[in-house]
């Protein structure tokens, strides 16, 4: 029996609504934290899915944007909590603990960085693109490690979660509501984008770059814009992730994290709307439940992931709907 992708998507959203509500009733706050983690990782991966799934650019350095989002939050909140001034050359600020401003800063900064990284990286393609984005990731990673002002390798702790008007973000379900809403918004945008002329052109640029050029479109510009949008979304996710943990550290820039984001997408299904969401949920659930079974749970995780690739072409969504995903 094959499932229609639409139902699957609906089911997934319903699940993400129901599970935390149940957790509130059953007084299982950690379940909420877990789901929040999955939702934030999903958000980051949705960002990556734009370049990877639609545009076919395998960015192995998306942790850069995740990390920038994280550090944007960390730095702003750090200055706000220590009442120290943040000198930004032209002007000085006291930092802020106001989420929307933090998000904006996170998205703008990571979008800008994505612009420059994209500009340089998009000269290459295929495996070289994978590696040059990795190179940028590593540069940021090592930079963060030695950035003593903000904790270096130790990272930065923010003692209280940042504020959102009208909500008490310290209550897990309320913070979850914020993350979930943002995920839904971004998913909606993703769906529109994918079907829009821009999405179609980007998708075409993945499959046949010369074709796109000969109809008078500039694949480089399409890809670059996609990269910027993608970076900004992943940056937003990074800011949320930092807020979830009330902590940022260079591991947010690590290549393992970039790799994990890619893995999430493949598990769910490349280029699928819900691919990253399903991938993130499954991954987080596996990580959690397998960890309780045995010390050597990585072995089991590995075996399960292997089965997903071998038997589910097009990830779990491919397995359930019987349709292959985008070829990247």
């Amino acid at each position: 029996m094959r499932l229609d992708e639409k139902y699957l998507n609906g089911l997934m959203i319903a699940g993400l609504l129901a599970l935390p509500l149940w957790a509130v009733m059953a007084d299982q706050p950690f379940t909420i934290t877990l789901v929040t983690r999955a939702v934030i990782l999903a958000l980051a991966a949705v960002g990556l899915n734009i370049v990877l799934g639609i545009g076919g650019m395998v960015s192995f350095g998306h942790a850069v944007f995740f990390g920038i989002g994280g550090y944007a939050m960390g730095i702003l909140a750090f200055h706000a909590q220590t009442y120290t001034a943040l000198e930004l050359g032209l002007f000085t600020t006291d930092g802020t603990k106001f989420m929307p401003v933090i998000w904006l800063v996170a998205m703008i900064t990571s979008g800008l960085v994505a612009f420059f990284i994209g500009l340089l990286s998009l000269r290459t393609s295929g495996v070289y693109f994978i590696m040059i984005t990795l190179a940028f990731g590593q540069m940021f990673f090592y930079f963060a490690i030695s950035w003593a002002q903000y904790g270096g390798e130790d990272g930065l702790s923010i003692y209280v979660r940042n504020d959102f008007p009208g909500l008490n973000t310290l209550i897990p379900i309320q913070f979850y509501a914020i993350c979930f809403t943002l995920l839904c918004v971004v998913l909606f945008l993703f769906a529109r984008l994918q079907a829009s002329p821009f999405g179609l052109a980007l998708n075409a640029a993945r499959q046949a770059g010369t074709r796109v050029e000969t109809v008078g479109l500039n694949p480089m510009r399409l890809k670059l814009l996609a990269f910027v949008i993608s970076g900004a979304i992943t940056g937003l996710a990074g800011a949320l992730f930092a807020d979830l943990n009330r902590f940022v550290s260079p591991t947010m820039f690590s290549w393992q994290l970039s790799g994990e984001l890619i893995v999430l997408i493949i598990i769910g299904g490349v280029g699928r709307l819900m691919g990253p969401v399903i991938g993130a949920c499954v991954f987080v659930a596996l990580e959690h439940f397998l960890g309780e079974l045995t010390d050597f749970w990585h072995v089991y995780l590995g075996v399960i992931l292997l089965c997903i690739v071998l038997f589910g072409r097009g990830g779990l969504i491919g397995l359930l709907t019987g349709k292959e995903g985008a070829h990247v």
């Binding site: 079907a195 821009f198 075409a204 046949a208 074709r211 050029e213 109809v215 479109l217 399409l222």
Partner: protein
């Protein structure tokens, strides 16, 4: 005589020691089909690549409607009205036939930077795309995924995508290749009618088609134009016969 829509002036291109294009000057006038023939490896595709912006000539110019486009990118030339088909199909294999055509329509309408309304629901794109598919006879296959098309069907789609652009010039690299005998006959008839919309620079090895269609024929050998003339003139040239036609004339 009217001004040429497309012209090359002394184009040169070498690959190492090989002169793939040697001082080529050809032009294309409104309403005509100008066929380029020549042995394999003579440099026809290389010439087309230079005209369309895929390769940068070592020297020489490309003029489109009198304007020098030599320094322009592929996409700029397409926007300026160059519609091209490839010798080896360049299609989005995971997309449907219609989506491939819509992509062309987007290029023509300059509509790639829209992020909201689904591309398939935009009437201006859809109409344009469906009209083009209709003309090459692919209407019934519009929802088939490109990967599931046969070789010949893909060749038809190549032409359809060029049509969606409503270009001022067509540049076609072996559009008949891969079409069956029946398909070639149909396409020949179709191109015959197309020349009034826009002139066609046609590279083709199918001599039946070339002789039936071409107002002028240029023969390219080792990167050089060795002859230009009407079908009869070319057929009569012994030089061309030796280099290319054999006894197909």
């Amino acid at each position: 005589m009217s001004d040429p829509v497309l012209a090359t002036l002394n184009l040169n291109k070498s690959f190492g020691a090989l002169k793939a294009t040697d001082n080529v000057s050809i032009d294309l006038k409104p309403g005509e089909i100008h066929a380029i023939i020549g042995p394999n490896g003579a440099g026809k595709s290389t010439l087309i690549q230079q005209i369309c912006g895929g390769l940068r000539p070592d020297s020489g110019q490309v003029l489109l409607c009198g304007q020098d486009v030599s320094g322009h990118s592929t996409q700029a030339r397409a926007q300026a009205g160059l519609g091209r088909t490839f010798q080896i199909s360049q299609l989005c294999m995971e997309d449907t036939v219609l989506e491939n055509a819509i992509l062309g329509a987007m290029g023509a309408e300059g509509l790639a930077w829209r992020f909201w309304q689904p591309a398939l629901k935009r009437p201006e794109l859809r109409d344009r795309a469906e009209a083009a598919l209709e003309r090459v006879g692919l209407s019934d296959d519009r929802d088939i995924c490109c990967a599931n098309l046969s070789h010949g069907q893909r060749r038809q789609l190549e032409v359809a995508v060029a049509l969606t652009l409503s270009p001022r010039v067509f540049v076609m690299d072996e559009p008949m290749a891969g079409l069956g005998a029946g398909g070639s006959k149909r396409l020949t008839g179709f191109l015959d009618g197309l020349r009034v919309e826009a002139p066609i620079l046609l590279v083709e090895h199918d001599m039946d088609a070339v002789f039936a269609l071409a107002d002028r024929i240029s023969v390219l050998v080792y990167g050089k134009v060795i002859a230009t003339g009407t079908a009869d003139e070319i057929r009569a040239s012994t030089e061309v016969r030796d280099a290319y036609l054999g006894d197909a004339a």
